[in-house]
Amino acid sequence: MKLKTLLATTAAVSLMGLAATAQTVGFSQIGSESGWRAAETTLTKQQAEERGIDLKFSDAQQKQENQIAAIRSFIAQGVDAILLAPVVATGWDSVLEEAKEAEIPVVLLDRRVDSADDLYLTAVGSDLVHEGQVAGEWLVNEVAGEDCRVVELQGTTGSSPAIDRKTGFENAIAGHDNIEIVRSQTGDFTRSMGKEVMESFLQAENGGADICALYAHNDDMAVGAIQAIKEAGLNPGEDILIVSIDAVPDIFKAMAEGDANATVELTPNMAGPAFDALAAYWKDGTMPEKFIQTESRLYTPADDPQAEYENRKDLGY
């Protein structure tokens, strides 16, 4: 304690130095378990830099207790806002209440919490059903009324992206009797399983001759399936149409080589809309909607896949 009083002058000086800087935002990230999340982290840092925001980044190493501690530290630091990508949905009430009492707005990124919605400013995320729907609508337009037998590579059984992306796709093709899902199995969101399951689809469907299109719940499985189709002596992208979701760099590479036809982007740029909402809130207290849906953009070979690949490959995917 005595040491602290001794250093009071130094403190005051550096305090002024701190206060002079721009808006400070704390970001509690889950971890870096997937390429997508690493890209989200990179983009959040980029977005903050572009806007002149001082970003305090904390990687929770997949632990909720680390995230809670980080948020409490952000509050103690008196940041102007907190971004939170919650590792689980439960258990945020008390720390969010503390943030609210300290009048620090909290924005949730890409995942939701089960707390009351007055405890956070807004949530930014993607609508998974909508993603599936965009993929389905692309196929409907692409085949233009011709008969099409579709095989589907599902995500991890029971996971919400798998359920929602399946539902969205089915909604889009409902009412188009020319399109039919003939086989659907899980590829567990992985490249190797995607390849394996595609091989069995090809064998079961007359060596692949009866398959018109593949719908994969993520790009990784599609990349695996493309490999299997090539090994079966067919031409992916022509003999079998390939549509998938996520828009990771590798699918753009495949698209540039003519092996894939379409992908729907799950944007890792959740921070952009979050910062926009925060800027409006800081300016005149504008309350954003409680859920900000990110764009699920469709990419096809017409969108210069080689350039998209170059743009994304350094984001950490």
Binding site: Q61, Q77, T90, G91, S94
Partner: protein, 328 residues
């Protein structure tokens, strides 16, 4: 000066140094908010580390505690949801379960003359598995009693919160200090840490003490689980993975000899606070990778192990050549 106290002084010295570094860089950190956060955020770790200190003082190790904390949270959440029993009853029930669980491990360690490492490793898998058996989801706790516990805090000047769980942690440390340093049981623990044979010759009832030690650790893990469930307001079977190792690190950084027989419960509190401080510093900085926490803790651990080895050598050479040493 008693060389046995050196590690404790080193711990306190490092902690004060860390405080100073933090303060110079981030004057904000000298606030009651940060102090309150340190106590609250590390409450579960501090409590479980007190139990771990007793275990390590006896020359043992308890790897089951992280899983027991997760089990406790899930047990409480599921029981509250499904059984309709009042929360205090469920908590009491849980403490009985975890204490018995610890006692059973202690009994096995003694009866089979097995290394504690193996027995508590089995306990770790058992408790984690049991947590998964109860649920695989994260279960929210909705209960008026819990709301009261979560809102129980004293607002310190400067808006820092001295929470109930933070106070409970300090109380646990106090109890641990009394148990370890002021009771017959504590004396037996230290004796056991010095060597089972000598302890037996000194008249320590080894079996009873071993069971008592692991039962105490089990109780503390259960208490820590309750605190963790208050802290997060939910039960999650994947929670607190690896917390047993963090607790061991806190104990060693706190100046307790990993081989047993020498150490201080108070040092463990300082160890926990040091680790919390490192984490806070990294969040305040905001640009360092959070993995630096682990790197610094690893470095500190290494430092203490080397320090302990050096002290051990120092004391043995003194004993060997009494004329060179200071009078006892």
């Amino acid at each position: 000066m008693n060389p046995r106290l050196y590690p404790l002084y080193a711990t306190i010295g490092i902690f004060l140094f860390a405080c100073l570094v933090c303060y110079i860089q981030f004057p904000f950190m000298a606030s009651t908010r940060v102090l309150g956060n340190l106590l609250t955020d590390n409450a579960y770790l501090g409590i479980v580390a007190v139990g771990m200190t007793i275990v390590i003082l006896s020359g043992g190790i308890d790897l089951s505690v992280g899983s027991v904390i997760a089990f406790s949270g899930v047990f409480i959440a599921v029981m509250l949801r499904d059984s309709g029993l009042p929360a205090p009853v469920i908590m009491a029930l849980l403490l009985v379960v975890t204490t018995l669980f610890g006692a059973a491990m202690g009994g096995l360690i003694h009866a089979l003359a097995m290394p504690p490492f193996i027995v508590t490793l089995a306990g770790m898998f058992l408790a984690r598995g049991a947590a998964y058996m109860l649920t695989i989801d994260s279960v929210p706790i909705v209960d008026p009693f819990y709301d009261r516990l979560q809102d129980a805090y004293y607002l310190m000047p400067g808006k820092g919160r001295l929470t109930l769980i933070g106070v409970l942690m300090l109380a646990s440390v106090a109890v641990g200090m009394i148990v370890a340093h002021r009771t017959r049981f504590g004396a037996s623990v230290f004796a056991l840490g010095g060597g089972v044979q000598t302890a037996r010759l000194m008249g320590v009832r080894v079996g009873r003490t071993t069971v008592g030690i692991y039962a105490f650790s089990g109780f503390m893990a259960g208490l820590s689980g309750i605190v963790f469930s208050v802290y997060t307001g939910s039960g999650y079977p994947l929670a607190t993975v690896g917390t047993e190792l963090t607790a061991i690190a806190a104990v060693v950084i706190g100046g307790t000899l990993l081989t047993g027989g020498s150490g201080f419960v108070f040092g463990t509190l300082i160890g926990v606070m040091t680790m919390g401080l490192i984490q806070t510093y990294i969040v305040f900085d905001g640009s360092l990778s959070s993995w630096w926490t682990k790197i610094v803790i690893g470095g500190l651990l290494l430092l203490f192990i080397v320090l302990q080895k050096g002290l051990l050598r120092l004391t043995t050479t003194r004993l060997a050549s009494p004329q060179a040493g200071a009078p006892v």
